[in-house]
Every structure is written in C-alpha cells, then in structure tokens.
C-alpha cells in the first residue's frame, strides 16, 4: 500500500514535471482560441467578411511560423452580428460557449459598445480592429483598439495637412446632425489652431437637407480657402464633389475614412474624385513588402479579392496580440481573466510595425501612430 502511494506520487510528480516542460502534451487546450464578431451578412457584410478573412490569413501565417510561444492560433467560426448590437451580444455568448479566450472585435462601433460590457464582465480581452466610436473601449479594463477614434481622425487630419504643407487656409463642410461628423469636425477645428491652419469657412448641413450644398460651396469659394475638409460619409461627399465641379470650385479636397467608398458609388463620375485625399491607414495598392505580401495572400485565398482597411486593421490586431502574448508569456491553459490581465499589462510595451503603421498603445487602449493618407490618382488610391 505504501509503495502504491509512492508510485502514485511519483507519477504525479512526473506529470507535473511534464506540465512544466511541455504543456502541449498534457493539456487538450493547446491552442489560443480567438473570436471574431462582425457583420458577415447584410449591408455592412464587406466590413465583417474583410475582417474575418484577414484574421484567417494572419493566423495561418503565425501558425506556419511556429505559432505564438509554440502554441497554434485558432480563429473560431465567425460571429455574425449584421452590425446590430443585440445580435452582436448573442454572437459573443455563442463564441464564449465555443471556448473563446480573446475577442478580436467587434467590427462596427454600435455593436462593440454593446459587447464591451459583456466582455468586461467575463474579463475577456477585447481588441477591436475598427470600432471607431470613442465609447467602444471606454470605462472597461482590457479593451484595446487598432484604428483611430472618430475625433482623433480630425486631429490627425489637421496634423497631416499642416505637416505636408497642403494648405494654410482651410474650410470645412460637415453634417452637424451626425455624431461621427461632428466629432471629427470639432477635433479638427480645435487642432487647426495648434497646427497653424487658418479656418476661413466653417459650414454645416443637416442629415435632413443633405442634397443642396450650393450655399456652403459658394461660401467656401468666397473665403479663398485652399483646402476643403470633408469629414462626411462618401454619399454626401459624392454630391458635394459634383456640385463643387458645377461652380468650378478650385480647392484641394481632404476627407477621412468615411469617404472611403466614394469610388465604388454606382455610376459616380470618378474623375470628380481625382486628386482627393483621404486619411486612411491602408492602401492595397501600396508597394511596400508587407502590404504586397498581405494583399497577395488575401487575394489567393479569396478569389482575387482586394482587402480593405478593416482587413488590414485585424491583421495588425493579431500581430499585436502575438507580441503581447509573447511578452507576457501567456499560455492557452490560463483562464480568460488571467489572459486579460496579463495582456493588458503587456500591451503597454508593445511596439508594432504593422500594415497600418508603427503603433504603440496608451493606457486607455488607444493606438498612437502617425497619420497616413492616400490620394486618388487615376481612379485608385495611392499612398501619399
């Protein structure tokens, strides 16, 4: 009997040793399970699908290169929320049932705001690639973001315009009824002073009267502005550009990520967009090595599709996670709360050389990176 006990304890000790040396052999939990939530169907499907497909590309690459700390990464089946907060919470719960340890999402802002509280309760680490509303990661620990917030785009636009010497006199036309546009506008106006830009015309319109811009454009023309900043969505911008052409308005045009999509408007005369600049972290037509490699891999896996900005964001998210996991020595057998705590601390020291720029993160989880912009040349984006 005594010997039996001894033998048992030896086995136990041996297995503990084995645990310490090669956990992979002992635990079934030998992969990092990462979940993606976004609109996979519906009107915004191109955003969610871009994110899901790119996360698969990144995971495949990471796994082929030996994984993270020797563990493989598994992207769970995508959670489809159609951009709807309620559906997003359901998708989150079902991913948790599948054993999700880290959430790379959600893709859209409204859904992200809803899901962040659930993730906070479970202490699941949340890293949104593209939720740009300020509230997506506020008031919770363990939530990070890859893209700029909406107001941040205003500040970064002013910085970019000033640093590149694009103009000294600027004008704005914006939708004063929508949060997104107002947030960017306010931050831009505040930053103009800081970067020595003179705001000569500040004109508004409302969502209810977003067809006629004749007065606003006439005022911009009179003001002598050299550059017109348009922090609006592309459908409004398309109309503004058409009406600006009608009065031969000769100014540079600068937009933010909402303008992305302008060239895809059906029947739109893309020559009107020629020379337009917009703040965006990623252009698939860039020729740097990392972008070419990503675009090629993405195209090969998806019938030649071109990845969008959201896809690039999530690709960077996975590499940021990899860096943080390695720095914190996180292993897949830890529970969500432990992973969350370790990653939150480790993120402070991560510097990522990603597709969307060289990024570090603040304690609030906000990315800090230099603004990048593209200019529309011959109907395609070209990195500036």
């Amino acid at each position: 009997m005594k010997n039996m006990k001894k033998a048992l304890s030896l086995v136990a000790a041996a297995s503990m040793m084995a645990t310490a040396i090669a956990p992979v052999t002992v635990f079934a939990d030998d992969t990092f399970k990462i979940g993606v939530i976004g609109p996979m169907t519906g009107d915004y499907a191109q955003y969610g699908l871009g994110v899901y497909k790119a996360s698969l590309i990144a995971a495949e690459e990471i796994n082929a290169n030996g994984g993270i700390n020797g563990y493989q990464v598994e992207i769970l089946e995508a959670g489809d929320d159609q951009g709807d907060p309620e559906k997003s919470m359901n998708a989150y719960n079902s991913l948790m049932d599948d054993g999700m340890q880290i959430l790379a999402g959600t893709v859209t802002s409204g859904a992200c705001i809803a899901v962040k509280d659930l993730a906070d309760m479970d202490q699941t680490f949340l890293f949104t690639p593209s939720g740009s509303a300020v509230d997506c990661i506020t008031n919770v620990a363990g939530a990070f973001r890859m893209c700029f917030t909406d107001p941040m785009q205003g500040t970064k636009s002013a910085q970019f315009i000033a640093e590149q010497g694009l103009a000294s006199k600027v004008a704005v036309i914006y939708d004063s009824m929508a949060d997104y546009n107002v947030g960017i506008h306010d931050a831009f106006v505040a930053a103009c002073g800081e970067y020595g830009l003179e705001l000569v015309a500040d004109e508004a319109y409302t969502t209810d009267s977003n067809t006629d811009f004749s007065v606003q454009l006439a005022k911009v023309q009179e003001s002598g502005a050299e550059l017109l900043f348009l922090p609006n969505y592309y459908n409004d911008d398309a109309l503004i550009l058409q009406q600006a052409a009608d009065i031969n308005l000769d100014v540079k045009i600068f937009g933010v990520d909402g303008m992305d999509g302008l060239l895809a408007v059906e029947n739109f005369d893309t020559s009107l967009a020629e020379g337009c600049m917009l703040l965006t972290p990623f252009a698939a037509s860039s020729t740097d090595e990392a972008t070419v490699k990503f675009v090629t891999a993405y195209g090969e896996a998806n019938n030649g599709e071109t990845p969008n900005q959201f896809a690039a964001d999530v690709y960077d998210v996975l590499y940021a996670l990899k860096a943080a996991i390695e720095a914190a020595n996180v292993t897949p057998d830890m529970d969500n709360a432990e992973i969350c705590e370790a990653l939150t601390a480790a993120m402070m020291d991560v510097t990522l050389e990603g597709l969307t720029g060289t990024t570090t993160w603040t304690e609030e989880g906000e990315p800090d990176k230099a603004p990048k912009a593209v200019v529309i040349t011959n109907g395609v984006y070209e990195m500036m």
């Binding site: 508004a204 409302t206 004749s214 007065v215 006439a218 459908n235 398309a238």
Partner: protein
C-alpha cells in the same frame, strides 16, 4: 448684390424641385382629400425605374422616362386600389393617413431589398447646357431651367385639365362632394383612380428632375424632399395647384437665404418657423381662398 442674385437663383432652383413634388401632393389632396405620404417614395421608385432602365436594360433616356411614368402610374393606381380605397369609408380619416405612412415604409424597404442601401449616382438623362449670365458671374444650370419650365407646363396643363375636360370636371365634383357626385352619375372610384394615376405619373417626372439636380439615389431619397414638398404645399394652400408652385419656390428661396444669411446650421429651423408664422397669420396657406373651389 451679385451674391444675393446668386443665392436667389440657388433658392429658385431648389424651390422648383419642391414645387414639382408639391404639385403631386396637392393634386391628390385637392381631389381625394387625403394626404398621400407615400408620394415622396413613389418619386424614389420612379427615379430607380428610370435609372435601371438606362443602366441595366440599356433603354434610351426617352424610353426610360416613358417606362418610369407608365410604371409609376400603374403603381399609383394599384396602391390606391389596394391600400386606400378599402379605407375610404373608414370611420376616422386617420386610418387612411396611417396606411399611407405604411405604404411609404413598404416602398422604402422594398427598394432597400431590391436595390440595396448604397447610394447610386444618377446618370445624366437631361443634357441641357447651362445659361451663363453677367460675363460668367452667374451660371444657371440647364436642369434648373428645365425644372422651372416643367413646373409651369405641368401647372398650366393640370389647371386646364381640371377646369375644361370632362374627367377634370368630374374631379371637381368629387372634390366638392363625393356622395353628391355619385348621385349625379360621376364614377367616384374611377375619378380618384385617375387622380392617383396622374399624381404618380408626375412623381416619376419629379423623381427624374430631383435626381438630375441632386444626382444621388438611395431608398430614402424621396422621404425628406417629400416632407419639404408637403410643407410647401401647405404653405401655398394645400389643394391649390398654383399655390403648390408658389409655395415650393418660396420655401426653396427661404431655405437658401436662411442658410446664406443667418446660419447653415439652423436653415431648416428657419424654414419651418416661417411656415408656422404663415399658418398663424393665414391658416389656409398663401392661396387659401382657392381652397373653396378645391382645384
């Protein structure tokens, strides 16, 4: 002075769009005594039909416009027969108003399903050179001139039609008293159907002009101009055909002046405040006297 004239021109060009939509509103109200809140959405459908006929079916612009007018006319008759006629005798006039709002959402969501939410640019259908005045200091777009001419023509033809033709006189009779008209042998159902047919056909033309002036088309394109045009119709005196035209143009001018001289932020507020004041002073609208004659 130059900028004043230029803003005035912008106001008239915006107003002429409101006017042409308001004509359809006022026509239906004047005769059927119902507010067809789906009118703005019929406009949107008309614009989609014209756009798809050109880009998808490859029709010539003239044929596309014809297709738009014919299909919208049929749609107007169908909507009236299916959604409005059964409720005409309902105890409360609210019933048919609510149905109209329902039809409005139905059309919007059907369009959303068929054409998607993405904004589409409207193709150039009407290509008229711009009028350049004062050595190039002012340009009046071709579409503005066409819209104003179309407004005047439609207004005159409608007025003539209602006053001088047999179906027109039947409309007047129905407007004055449905039951009495029926007793006198007027086919009330057919007359109201005809009214909707004309109103919806006009909506297709309005859709074409709206989207030619502001070339962006979504399933919601018709809703706000529809509401503004309703305001214009009330402003001018709802039920009065010349009132719709004048109300529309005035509303456009007030909106642009408000935006230019007061604030672009509160232009809509100014425009609706003016409406409230006009209605306080003259509750039947500018051409309110005509309301007795009911078109």
């Amino acid at each position: 002075m130059m900028s004043f004239l230029s803003y005035l021109k912008d106001g008239i060009s915006l107003g002429s769009i409101y006017a042409i939509i308001a004509l359809g509103y006022t026509m239906v109200y004047g005769i059927a005594k119902m507010l067809n809140f789906a009118h703005g959405d019929v406009i949107m459908v008309g614009a989609f039909i014209i756009l798809s006929s050109i880009t998808k079916a490859g029709l010539s612009p003239a044929l596309a416009i014809l297709a738009g007018v014919v299909l919208c006319t049929l749609m107007g008759i169908t909507i009236e027969a299916v959604a409005y006629r059964p409720l005409r005798k309902a105890a409360s006039p609210l019933a048919v108003l609510i149905t109209a709002i329902g039809v409005s959402y139905l059309l919007q969501n059907l369009a959303l399903l068929i054409f998607g939410a993405d904004a589409k640019s409207f193709v150039t259908v009407i290509d008229v050179p711009a009028l350049v005045l004062f050595d190039g200091k002012m340009t009046i777009k071709g579409i503005t001139i066409i819209t104003i001419i179309a407004c005047i023509v439609i207004m005159s033809v409608l007025t003539w039609f209602v006053k001088n033709t047999k179906p027109g006189r039947a409309m007047q009779a129905v407007a004055a008293d449905k039951d009495a008209a029926q007793l006198m042998g007027v086919n009330v159902n057919a007359t109201i159907s005809l009214t909707f047919a004309i109103g919806s056909g006009l909506a297709a033309i309005a859709g074409l002009l709206l989207c030619s002036a502001y070339p962006s088309l979504t399933p919601y394109t018709g809703s706000m101009p529809g509401i503004k045009a309703f305001v214009a119709a009330v402003f001018g005196g709802i039920g009065s055909i010349p009132g719709a035209m004048v109300g529309g143009i005035l509303l456009g001018v007030i909106e642009i002046f408000g935006r230019a001289y007061i604030s672009s932020q509160i232009a809509d507020a100014i425009c609706f405040a003016v409406l409230i004041i006009v209605l306080l002073v003259k509750p039947t609208g500018l051409f309110g006297k005509n309301i007795q004659e009911k078109v």
